[in-house]
């Protein structure tokens, strides 16, 4: 046993750090540091920088533009990016449709779509959830009927994150209505500009435009946009790399948010002295340090195991649970550290609006928003209840 980073990994970490510190534009860093979600333009600029370096899609096979990194290198990369306030990559492009195309796409499909992702030209979104099918995907109803060379698609998708940025959407649709619910689902690639496609924003409780409702009315989708086989879309949707679950713990995010909480606690006062000088506050920080350290080491443990060929630890499911709850707590604690400066409504993009000017010290501006946003972390992508169910199944099998 040895928990020291190997010399190679250490060198790799320093190289990544040097790169992101040099290349990340200062305005993007600041925006992220304050706690805002990235704008599309920021993401695009950062994607192009990563693409130039060949680091936009590290998890893809090398032949398709990936890096061939070990999971540990991937982890170091993600962590250094987070610690240095890089925006995330667009997961629908990089972690979802890319790997799906690589595993299930025809050669023609790969040729058509993968380069456009790496060129940062096309943006994808995910059409899974429906009004009556949230975590229970098998209940989905969007109908796709084959007519000649086209599927005719009718239905409604909700919670479609960033659909308003997207040029394309990958969708689960129903192509068969009898039999088991999972069996009649197919996986389609669709063009967001296709006639009959419309988008309605669903503003979040804190006024952000992230979610959308996407409605398809007789949208014609060429038959060749089917991925894998008809009625086997469930397999495709379920195939997402297990290894991705190692990165749902958001270790880097958690570390930087704890760091930022401490920074703020050095500036904000309580009873006439900095918050961080109070024993009761330091004990809270200490408890967060324990949680961050536990998460970090657990992730490292599972990554080292996977890298050494011992497979993915079945407890990997707990990482999303622990990591997202920790991040929610840290972000709420950060707002609390601000006292009354945590209360104003502050919103990026309408910063010059009379109702939401930037208010209070600079370190306060994005905190409230980031906290609200984080409530979705335990709902989206398989809510915490679902993660518990999955984990329980494993423990009680």
């Amino acid at each position: 046993m040895n928990l020291k980073e190997t010399a190679e990994d250490r060198a790799f970490r320093l190289a990544v750090r040097e790169f992101v510190q040099r290349e990340l534009p200062a305005d993007i860093r600041k925006h992220n540091e304050e706690g805002w979600e990235p704008e599309k333009d920021e993401m695009a600029r950062w994607h192009r920088i990563l693409a130039r370096q060949g680091w936009l899609a590290p998890s893809w096979p090398k032949d398709y533009g990936g890096t061939g990194w070990t999971l540990m290198q991937r982890h170091i990369f993600e962590e250094e990016c987070a610690l240095n306030y890089c925006p995330p990559v667009h997961i629908f492009n990089i972690a979802m449709i890319g790997p799906i195309l690589i595993e299930y796409g025809t050669e023609a499909q790969k040729q058509r779509y993968l380069p456009k992702i790496l060129d940062v030209e096309e943006w994808w979104c995910q059409g899974y959830s429906e009004p009556d099918a949230g975590s229970d995907l098998a209940a989905l109803k969007t109908d796709a009927r084959l007519e000649g060379d086209h599927y005719i698609v009718n239905g409604t998708k909700v919670w479609t994150s960033l659909a308003h940025w997207a040029t394309h959407i990958f969708c689960l649709v129903r192509t068969k209505k009898d039999g088991k619910p999972q069996e009649g689902i197919s996986f389609l690639l669709m063009d967001m500009t296709a006639r009959g496609t419309s988008i309605q924003p669903i503003p979040t409780l804190n006024g952000q435009h992230i979610f959308n409702q996407v409605v398809f009315e007789n949208v014609r989708v060429p038959k060749e946009n089917l991925i894998h086989r008809e009625n086997e879309g469930w397999t495709v949707a379920k195939s997402l790399l297990d290894h991705e679950r190692l990165f749902l713990a958001r270790v880097g995010d958690n570390k930087k948010r704890l760091q930022r909480l401490k920074d703020i606690a050095r500036k904000e006062l309580a009873h006439g002295k900095p918050l961080i000088e109070h024993d009761w506050f330091r004990r809270k920080l200490a408890q967060y340090e324990v949680r961050v350290r536990a998460l970090d080491l657990t992730v490292l443990r599972f990554i080292a195991k996977a890298d050494s060929g011992q497979g993915l630890d079945p407890s990997v499911t707990m990482l999303k649970l622990a990591g997202t709850e920790l991040l929610q707590d840290l972000l709420q604690e950060t707002v609390d550290a601000l006292g009354y400066y945590g209360l104003p409504f502050q919103q990026h993009g309408i910063a010059n609006d009379e109702l939401a000017p930037p208010f209070g010290p600079e370190h306060a501006i994005g905190a409230s928003n980031a906290r609200f946003r984080s409530r979705a972390f335990t709902i989206a992508g398989g809510g915490s209840e679902i993660q518990h169910n999955i984990m329980a199944k494993h423990l009680l099998k």
């Binding site: 904000e268 009354y340 409530r375 809510g383 209840e385």
Partner: protein, 366 residues
């Protein structure tokens, strides 16, 4: 011992309940939020006609605020009636503003908190210097509720002593339009108008002093304790709404072919929400009835205990309501998110959990 409302209190309760049911649906609320100043002047007039702007007894205020909370009313009741009105009430109201407040003719704001002070009422930098014919005020206040709408500000300033001295504080009545008063308006996360207030050599007359010079802290503390309990009662209304809304959602929403209400984990969590609410309700009643207690230690214990429990219940219930509603809970489409945001504000306003646990801890006999 008796936990029942008097007949008048019950009438107040019924009246407010009726008003919310008939006049304050989601659309009306949105219209208020989008009005100039963030509230409806019409509704405010109605409040005046109904006599609601004259309410000042603790239990009456509790009844009223719980109803307003249940309807998530954004009209600036707390700022006017409980806070500024309370301060005027206890300092003799020399300018005779209370009748005009009761008639809905003036808007008031209490400028209490300062940027460095966190939740300490005595941590006051703002200075009031005596001049030959009055006072000269300078300093900065933050998150002054209703500041952008106020005709008058009640300002806490230091007339003697050092920063954080308990004595040396005085209250002043300042016209919001006075030269040197600068108000920077914002909206809180839960849709209330508020603002930073900067005072630069603001000249007021001798008559602007409210109450005894240098001795404002005890008055201020009692009024803030009262406003805190009033806001806690508002939170009871919010929590009551959310627990019921969540129960309804669990009964109607289906997942995996079954109503959510059949999932035992959600059942048990709903029970915990409900229990937190009921304990909060008990303590808010206790805190409210202690406001007139002459025993300062018992008053502090009762109100800070209530505040701790309300803050904790507000977080639990707000977060669980969002989580159990899932995606839809995160959106502006459902009012659940708005209640959650209000509850978060409640859990900070007048002191967060750490502040009040500290206050209670300090009083434990060694």
């Amino acid at each position: 011992m008796d936990f029942d409302l008097s007949d008048e209190q019950r009438m107040l309760d019924d009246g407010a309940r009726r008003f919310i049911a008939q006049r304050y649906d989601l659309t009306a609320r949105r219209r208020s939020v989008e009005s100039v100043g963030g509230f409806s002047r019409d509704i405010w007039k109605t409040f005046a006609q109904l006599g609601w702007l004259d309410v000042n007894q603790p239990v009456d205020l509790m009844v009223m605020m719980e109803r307003l909370g249940h309807g998530l009313v954004v009209e600036p009741y707390l700022a006017n009636v409980a806070l500024a009105g309370g301060l005027l009430e206890r300092t003799g109201d020399p300018a005779m503003l209370l009748p005009r407040l009761g008639a809905g003719e003036v808007q008031l704001a209490a400028a209490i908190a300062e940027p460095q002070a966190r939740f300490d009422l005595h941590d006051i930098v703002t200075q009031a210097k005596p001049t030959s014919d009055g006072w000269l005020l300078s300093g900065a206040k933050t998150l002054v509720l209703n500041a952008p709408n106020a005709d008058w500000l009640v300002v806490v300033a230091r007339t003697s002593g050092a920063l954080r001295d308990a004595s040396g504080l005085s209250l002043f009545l300042v016209p919001a339009k006075a030269a040197g008063v600068e108000i920077r308006p914002i909206r809180t996360q839960d849709d209330f108008p508020a603002g930073d207030v900067r005072l630069t050599d603001v000249v007021v007359g001798k008559g602007a002093l409210l109450g005894a010079r240098d001795e404002a802290l005890p008055t201020l503390q009692r009024v803030v304790d009262g406003a805190m309990m009033a806001d806690a009662a508002y939170a009871l209304g919010c929590m009551d709404y959310l627990v019921a809304a969540t129960a309804d959602y669990l009964k109607t929403r289906k997942q995996f072919g079954k109503p959510l209400a059949t999932f035992q984990v959600l059942q048990h969590r709903l029970v915990q929400m409900h229990a937190a609410l009921e304990e909060a309700r008990s303590l808010v009643i206790g805190g409210t009835l202690a406001l007139d207690d002459e025993d300062a230690a018992e008053r502090l214990a009762a109100v800070s205990s209530a505040k701790v429990q309300v803050n904790q219940a507000a977080r639990l219930i707000g977060q669980e309501a969002i989580q159990m509603h899932g995606g839809i809970g995160m959106t502006d489409a459902l009012i659940v998110g708005n209640y959650y945001k209000r509850l978060l504000s409640v859990s900070t306003l007048f002191g967060d959990t750490d502040h009040h646990l500290g206050r209670l801890a300090d009083k434990i006999a060694a």
